[in-house]
Structure formats: C-alpha cells, structure tokens
Amino acid sequence: MIDVLYFAWVRERIGLPRERLETGAATVADLVDELRAREERYAAAFSDLTSLRVALDQELASFDAPLAGVREVAFFPPMTGG
C-alpha cells in the first residue's frame, strides 16, 4: 500500500487530495501509467509529465525513480513559493 498525494491543479483535476493504493509499479513512471489507465481525469492530469514534479517520501525525485520501500508519493506542478 502506498499513499499518493496530489497538489494544486493536479489535485483539482483528479478531484481528491490523497488516496491509498495497492500497486505493483516498480517505478514512478509505471505508477503514472497505472493511474492514467484508471480514469479520464487521471489521464488528463498526467497528460504532460514535463509540467509535473514528483516527490518520494517528501524528497524531490525523477519519474524513473524506483518505488521500492517508498510510503508516500506526491504529484504536483512546478513549485511557486517565495
């Protein structure tokens, strides 16, 4: 089981801030493929990965990073703090 979090317009497009999933995905990219296949709103949110960022257990990561041992995955647009 893995916690998946969504922020900003990713959250709005998918329609929920977080969910708990059972997944066999080996990498972030595999997880994205699984999510895209679920429903149109996921396919829409993940249509362009260059406009998305991912964090694994609250550390920025790349989409080819492995998911082994990861408890929390978060997807969000580029950050706009400051």
Binding site: M79, G81, G82
Partner: protein
C-alpha cells in the same frame, strides 16, 4: 535559525527587529519580504497551498545549505499558506553575517531556492476568477548561478 510555516499573518517589522536584536557578532542583516502585489486593484487576493511535512523539510534543507556555503550568524524563514489579501506579506527571509556580501548572497540564494524548491503553489484570486500562478523559466534559471 528559525523556520516557520504558518497560516497566521506576521509583522515584518517585529520579525526584523527581533532577528536583528538577537544577532551578536553580525555586522550585516539582510531581509527580504514577498508581498501580494496589488495589481492596480484587479487582484482580490491569493491562496497558497503547501505540502505539510515536506515544506518544513525542504526549507530546513535550503537553510542548511545556505549556512554551509556562507559565514552566517543566523537565518530566518517565515512562509504563509492559506488565503492572503492584497499587500499582505507572503513570506520573508532574514540573514545575518559578519560582512554584507555573505548576508546578501545567502538571502538571494534562499529566495531562489524557496521559489522553485519549496512545495508551495500560489493561486491568484481576481475579479475574473482564479488562476494558478505558472512557474517561470527565469526562476528555474536563477538556481544555476549557485
């Protein structure tokens, strides 16, 4: 070093005052404050979303990096989330160092990293609706100088 991620407003003057009073041995204090711009009255406010937990972790990481790169006596970061009105302070950083070069460089470094590496997302609320602020290429490019 102090990092505060909060929805409550803060008073820039009080924070600068307290910070400055506490820095023994510093000759230079730099502060930066980010304000909700009042775009000729078109903006009714701003809403800031963040990633609780990761936000604090990311900011502590950025501050730690600044402390290792420059000779700092102290550093402060305050960043708000939630709803803010025009003219309100969104965030501030302050740095204190023996000499001005270090204080300025560290403050600019902190700002550049907070802009693009701390998990905050701004949404502008206006008369014509609301819109997520897009990240600027210039902000990502600004990281390359460090």
């Amino acid at each position: 070093m102090r990092v505060a991620v909060q929805s409550a407003p803060f008073d820039v003057g009080t924070e600068v005052s307290t910070f400055t009073a506490g820095v023994r041995g510093a000759g230079a204090v730099v502060s930066f404050t980010g304000l909700v711009r009042d775009e000729a009255g078109t903006l009714s406010g701003m809403e800031i979303e963040h990633y609780p937990g990761m936000t604090e972790k990311a900011i502590f990481g950025i501050v730690g990096e600044a402390v290792s790169r420059w000779s700092l006596v102290d550093a402060l970061v305050i960043h708000r989330y939630g709803k803010l009105g025009p003219g309100e302070a969104i965030m501030m950083v302050a740095t204190a160092a023996p000499h001005r070069g270090d204080a300025f460089a560290a403050a600019e470094f902190l700002m550049d990293y907070l802009k693009s590496r701390a998990p905050f997302w701004k949404k502008e609320l206006g008369a014509g609706g609301e819109a997520w602020v897009a990240a600027k290429d210039a902000d990502e490019d600004a990281l390359k100088r460090w």
